[in-house]
């Protein structure tokens, strides 16, 4: 670790940069900064800053949800995993879409009807504000920061690969600075449009890549499937033919898969940066429409991983893929359509990371400002007009700067994949159970919410620390993914916590009101007038 990180980046004999890639990066940066400038001029007031004035339309929010959700881990990571481990990589693709049924059927509409800016609004609707908001805010900050560090380290490694000559630290600082600018100046409106543009870029890049792959096989699915079920690989000097559609190339323990599946399917509906997107639309019906749009886009994207994931396995040199699996989608682009398309796919990957980290930054800063600062510290009153937005802007800056520092301290070689798993596990074990119980269970109490959040959060972190990720061979908990144990623990804690604490007449009295509002949308936060 050098004391002056930037100095380490100035390498005298760095390889020549690809001018096309650099140009496309700069084009995307320029476009998003223009949007930020435009948003900053339009944004005034809390509902504009935190929720884009609740005037985002259904299809726009659908694209933005997709852009918020599909991270570089999805695009580069899954392509790489399919290219090296075949079918097992594709299993991830499935879970990421099916998870949206939980969002659609149980969470999106009541959340939109009951809340204002954050997930904690739903809990605070009838429980005691300060304890539940403090815990929910802690959970939101931790989930967002885990996820963000994973993205930042990924971004650093990626930019280093894509733009030779730019070092890891420079890349992390660049990505971090951009996301801070989007969120601090442009708020939710700028974040939304960065996510929309990213989703469009990602979909067009993936579509083009898929078409190019199929062109190699004469647009014949028979030839394509024939090729991917007979891929020649060389292992230890012995040549063999492998069917890449055979399960089990990577995952050995089905129980671990069940555990991962639970975290995906239940965790997505508890990810704070996804949930706050539903406050940007005018009403619950539009929130529903936006989930449908998001599901169409996310589903099409993950189906296309078949083509560019398995395609990379069939068309690229296995040694090159194995050397750096995350680069298999960009390398495939280069092999099929040359440097210009490589540059485009690289810029898409870069846009992908930026849109996700911007979404995470705004969810963390909104929760700190709205839940913790205004409601926990100041008992729900703003001392000066505009104070909440100001605090959010400062928080966005601090959270961004902290993530840059942590990503640089951890360095490019740290394995960050587990941080994403941890974020989903916490969301599934802590956040979702208390959201559901506060909406559907009259007897639920403040103590139940605090217990549920605390135990869900604590057990997810603990089980990862004492599992194979934290302890390797000597793991006490046998699974990589804690969900199968931490989700029941979180649920149980919320349930027992409620039963052992005294009835809360105030909370129970408000249950009827909440039920009417959650299911009819009466009195929900309205969009700003034009």
């Amino acid at each position: 670790m050098t004391f002056f990180p930037l100095l380490a980046d100035i390498v005298p004999d760095a390889p020549k940069q690809s001018p096309a890639a650099l140009m496309m990066f700069l084009l995307f940066v320029a476009a998003t900064l223009m949007i930020t400038w435009w948003s900053a001029r339009k944004t005034s007031g809390a509902s504009a800053y935190f929720a884009a004035g609740r005037r985002i339309t259904g299809w726009q929010n659908g694209l933005a949800v997709a852009g918020d959700y599909m991270s570089a881990a999805s695009f580069l990571g899954i392509a790489g995993m399919i290219a090296t481990s075949g079918y097992d990589g594709f299993m991830y693709s499935v879970g990421f879409l099916v998870a949206y049924l939980t969002v659609l059927l149980v969470v999106a509409e009541p959340l939109r009807n009951l809340g204002k800016y954050t997930m904690a609004d739903v809990l605070a609707y009838r429980l005691r504000e300060r304890p539940v908001r403090a815990m929910a805010s802690l959970s939101t900050l931790l989930v967002s920061i885990f996820y963000m560090i994973a993205q930042m380290v990924g971004a650093g490694v990626l930019v280093k690969e894509l733009l030779p000559g730019v070092g890891f630290n420079t890349a992390v600082i660049g990505v971090g600075a951009l996301m801070i600018v989007y969120v601090v100046f442009g708020g939710m409106l700028a974040t939304t449009w960065v996510q929309i543009i990213k989703a469009i870029l990602l979909m067009s890049g993936s579509l083009f890549l898929s078409v190019l792959v199929m062109k190699e096989f004469g647009f014949s699915f028979a030839t394509f499937f024939e090729a991917i079920t007979n891929i020649k690989t060389t292992k230890d000097g012995v040549e063999s033919t492998v069917n890449f559609l055979t399960p089990g190339m990577k995952f050995k323990d089905p129980l671990d898969q069940i555990s991962l599946g639970l975290a995906l399917v239940l965790g997505t509906a508890g990810l704070p940066h996804i949930l706050i997107r539903f406050y940007t639309v005018p009403d619950a019906k539009t929130a529903r429409v936006s989930v449908i749009w998001a599901m169409i886009i996310i589903g099409l994207f993950y189906i296309m991983t078949t083509f560019f994931g398995f395609g990379a396995a069939a068309l690229l040199d296995p040694a090159a893929v194995a050397a750096n699996p995350n680069m298999s989608a960009p390398l495939l682009a280069k092999a099929l359509a040359g440097d210009l398309f490589f540059a485009f796919i690289s810029a898409v990957a870069f846009a992908t990371i930026l849109a996700v980290v911007a979404g995470l930054t705004i969810s963390a800063s909104t929760s700190f400002a709205h839940d913790f600062f205004t409601n926990v510290i100041h008992h729900g009153k703003e001392h000066r007009p505009g104070e909440e937005v100001k605090v959010a802007r400062i928080t966005a800056f601090v959270v961004g700067a902290a993530s840059i520092a942590i990503a640089i301290l951890l360095g490019p070689n740290i394995n960050v994949a587990f941080l994403v798993g941890l974020a989903f596990a916490v969301a599934a074990s802590a956040n979702l159970p208390v959201i559901l119980m506060s909406v559907f269970w009259k007897r639920f109490t403040t103590a139940g919410a605090v217990w549920g959040l605390g135990v869900g959060l604590g057990s997810s972190i603990l089980l990862i620390l004492i599992g194979p990720t934290g302890m390797g061979e000597n793991a006490i908990f046998p699974l990589q993914n804690p969900g199968i144990a931490s989700i029941p623990l979180g649920l149980l804690a919320a349930w027992i916590g409620s039963l052992v604490s005294p009835h809360e007449p105030g909370a129970e009295a408000k249950f009827s009101e909440m039920k009417v509002r959650a299911h009819t949308g009466h009195g929900a936060e309205e969009a700003e007038p034009h």
Partner: protein, 118 residues
């Protein structure tokens, strides 16, 4: 723990008893029953369908590897999950349009507009 409940953000003029009464109106009970009748089975269905994939892939390798046309059973079953999700979402959208109508009827009858902006 309950003495210090925060002042409810209740609407002026509508107290807890009025809300309670609304929840016992047959129209409102019909709305909740209709939602429950759809959402509970839909959730059970999609969870069973999704975890069946992991169970078959993990514990029934022979079935998973069975070749059907161009690909094996495991791939087709995974591929079908996308369409399952889209179909459930589409059916829900249709059902939800009915829930919206029921909710609109309840609101039209029992509340005055704009009583309670937070």
């Amino acid at each position: 723990m309950s003495e210090k409940d925060p002042a409810p953000k209740a609407a002026p003029g509508i107290n807890a008893e009025v809300w309670e009464k609304i929840t016992h109106r047959p129209e409102f009970e019909a709305l909740l029953a209709a939602k429950r009748r759809f959402i509970v089975p839909a959730c059970v269905f999609f969870l069973v369908y999704y975890f069946a994939l992991i169970v078959i892939v993990g514990w029934f390798p022979d079935l998973a590897k069975k070749q059907i046309g161009l690909a094996n059973f495991a791939y087709w079953f995974a591929f079908s999950q996308f369409f399952m999700a889209w179909i459930v979402a589409w059916v829900y959208t249709r059902a939800a349009a009915r829930f919206d109508r029921l909710a609109a009827d309840i609101l039209g009858e029992h509340t005055t507009p704009d009583t309670d902006k937070k």
